[in-house]
Symmetry: C2
Subunit: 414 residues, 2 copies
């Protein structure tokens, strides 16, 4: 049943990846896009700016995979050794590429900066590669072939790499291999942990054909379940997915490949409704999640980040007496906050959060992780208390997800 699978390795290069100063987001993005054109990633490797290590990684990945995508190490500075190494590895000579030179020159003219020797170096490429012009930066990409493997070297700057992948690399790979894409169907659940869900679907999972893979992807206190398969098995995946949906129906947030903020946006747009937020402990993170979505201005009006109590009072009209009597992390305060946001901002729905994210600020009565969330709609007002037990960053993420989920259920109920 399974179609022939093209497998790829990803190699990211740079000392910064090994000392932890930079999180490698390139690999995840590349893996996702490769999957979509039907190429499965078998392995990812990161090595430093060390000649021997890069050489060895090229050998190792080249021996295993038909495609090796490489990012990093192409910058203009002295710690970048990848380009000359690739030139030697593939048996070429460095030459100036006219297209890359025109690109570098144009970029510096546009910026009104003098072009220096070091930048001109960026236009040099091995004469044994196909040059991929960089529409978003100075370093060109390079497409090599050796021993039946395609090696593509791209800049490590994420938006430059992404531009090159979309414009050149993915279309070329797709054309070369002409494969059926890998099929993914995902759904998102909230309110139950991974173990519980696994128990709830175990009999169904046992009968799942071997060529359909199930994965549990917990994130933000929710669990995404994903079915994947490749080849001409769309109908079978669809049928299995429908069964899975039935089994997890009580906790189902969406059966599409959406985040919780995308679900909330879709529900509001369908109803011609709008949302406002009032954030204390999440400090603008809910607003950031929402406004990272293009088009969110069609349903999201804004937020009052009332980090300090004076802001809760001045902008959200929370009476000082309520703040004094109950404390900022309390049901009366979030309920007043949410109504304040709804009225002042003039939205259909609103959600408010107040809590203690840690590591400091907890008390015996209200330990770190205590959070109150309220949501308001058309004459509706609900509030819930949560207790998260993690570090500051994760508590913020969990609070944001819980707040968005509370709005989602409120919108569905109205």
């Amino acid at each position: 049943m399974e179609a022939q699978i093209i497998k790829a390795g990803i190699l990211t290069i740079g000392d910064e990846l090994l000392i932890g100063q930079v999180v490698d987001t390139n690999s995840a993005w590349m893996a996702q896009r490769l999957n979509e054109v039907g190429i499965r990633v078998g392995e990812r490797q990161s090595v430093g700016d060390v000649y021997h290590d890069i050489w060895q990684a090229l050998d190792a990945l080249g021996a295993k995979f038909q495609v090796v995508l490489i990012t990093g190490g192409l910058g203009p500075t002295a710690d970048d050794i990848t380009k000359p190494l690739l030139c030697t590895y593939f048996g070429g000579t460095m030459v100036v590429d006219a297209g890359a030179l025109a690109n570098v020159t144009a970029i510096f003219e546009r910026l009104g900066r003098p072009l220096i020797e070091r930048n001109l170096k960026q236009a040099e490429v091995p004469d044994v590669c196909r040059v991929l012009q960089n529409a978003r930066g100075t370093a060109p990409g390079m497409w090599f072939e050796k021993g039946g493997t395609i090696f593509v070297s791209m800049p490590g700057v994420p938006h430059e790499m992404k531009g090159m992948m979309e414009k050149d690399v993915l279309p070329a790979l797709h054309e070369r291999f002409g494969l059926a894409p890998v099929i993914h169907r995902t759904l998102l659940t909230a309110g139950q942990g991974e173990s519980f869900l696994a128990e709830a679907i175990q009999h169904w999972e046992a009968q799942l054909p071997a060529y359909i893979k199930l994965a549990y992807l917990p994130n933000y206190g929710m669990v995404r379940l994903r079915l994947s398969a490749s080849g001409e098995v769309e109908a079978e995946v669809e049928a299995q997915f429908e069964q899975l949906k039935q089994l997890v129906a009580p906790w189902l947030v969406t059966d599409r490949d959406e985040t919780i903020q995308m679900v909330v946006g879709r529900l509001l747009l369908e109803r011609g409704a709008t949302l406002a937020t009032a954030e204390s402990c999440t400090g603008g993170y809910i607003a950031h999640l929402i406004t990272s979505l293009p088009g969110s201005s069609n349903w999201y009006l804004g937020s009052v980040v009332s980090y300090d109590n004076t802001v809760k009072h001045n902008l959200l009209h929370v009476p000082a007496t309520i703040l004094e009597e109950h404390g900022a992390v309390s049901m009366p305060v979030v309920e007043t906050m949410v109504q304040g946001a709804q009225q002042t901002i003039g939205s259909t729905y609103a959600v408010a959060v107040s809590g203690i994210m840690g590591p400091h600020g907890g008390t015996a009565d209200k330990p770190v992780g205590t959070v109150w969330i309220a949501a308001a709609g058309k004459g509706q007002l609900v509030s819930r208390k949560f207790h998260f037990r993690f570090d500051r960053q994760r508590n913020i993420e969990l609070t944001a997800a819980a707040a968005l989920n509370l709005v989602r259920t409120l919108v569905l109920e109205s």
Copy 2:
């Protein structure tokens, strides 16, 4: 001069890493902490939940490194095969660990959830490992030794892994190898690109001793420069760092290991001053960067996220006539916004941003990436126009960094 270096490999396991549904943040964090105790990371690998691939990665990394840290693959669900594999790899038999069992039981009691068969499995470990109890979750960690290499397997959930690293793994590695830590000195610059800086410091870089490494770490439109060395060379690193500081003085933001938001916070705290923000196009991201810092409530009061123009009018008191005449992305609007935020929220300083982040919303007159930023202080008011040329997410990040840098310079001038 260089002390003996212990080198480590990092192996992250999970299909989710290879289809790109999850960004691997564990590796960067582990690498950073290993460096701090004097262990250098030589390579990172990610493989899927595939028996042969995991086995091969253990072989490959074990042959190269004295320490191999492994995360992932320890969950209770059927796609996790790592634990039985490790048991076979290290020649053990699975046994129930009393400590792990007590931990799993206590967690489920605390959550008030029934303990199911699948969860009990989490208490099983190979009898050839030292068990590392998980203070934040159900899956125990495992410490193996084979052929002169230490292998430590930890859960993939970041906060569980971090807890285990801090409490057990790092102290044990530190004690075992008793090494001098790697020395890092970093500084942050703004206003010049990587190439220009490289040119400005090239003569100094040429005389840098081989045992001190320089790295360029561009991020958010700023460039961090880092010197690293290991062994008893602190004085020499310090002297070189002082020279570097002089050379980049015009663009120096900080000579400490701080982010721009940490610098702003420190400057405000030193002056007993406070900050408010008014965010249109960044949609709460500046507030999020600030409030992610523990203790930011000592200097940050809050934000008005005025995504919709009605919020600019209602909460920041931007006159409708100004909005109509000049448009939301204009100097008069950000200057009114920043004063509105400063007055309504009652802060010493304020910063406001309004721009077009893309991909839609640009016009011939104001293309995508056009941003106005204003900062206000004690009788001061400055505004600047920027033009960023990237995708939505990166434009948001660059705008936030530029806004924080504008506040920084304003505070330093007052």
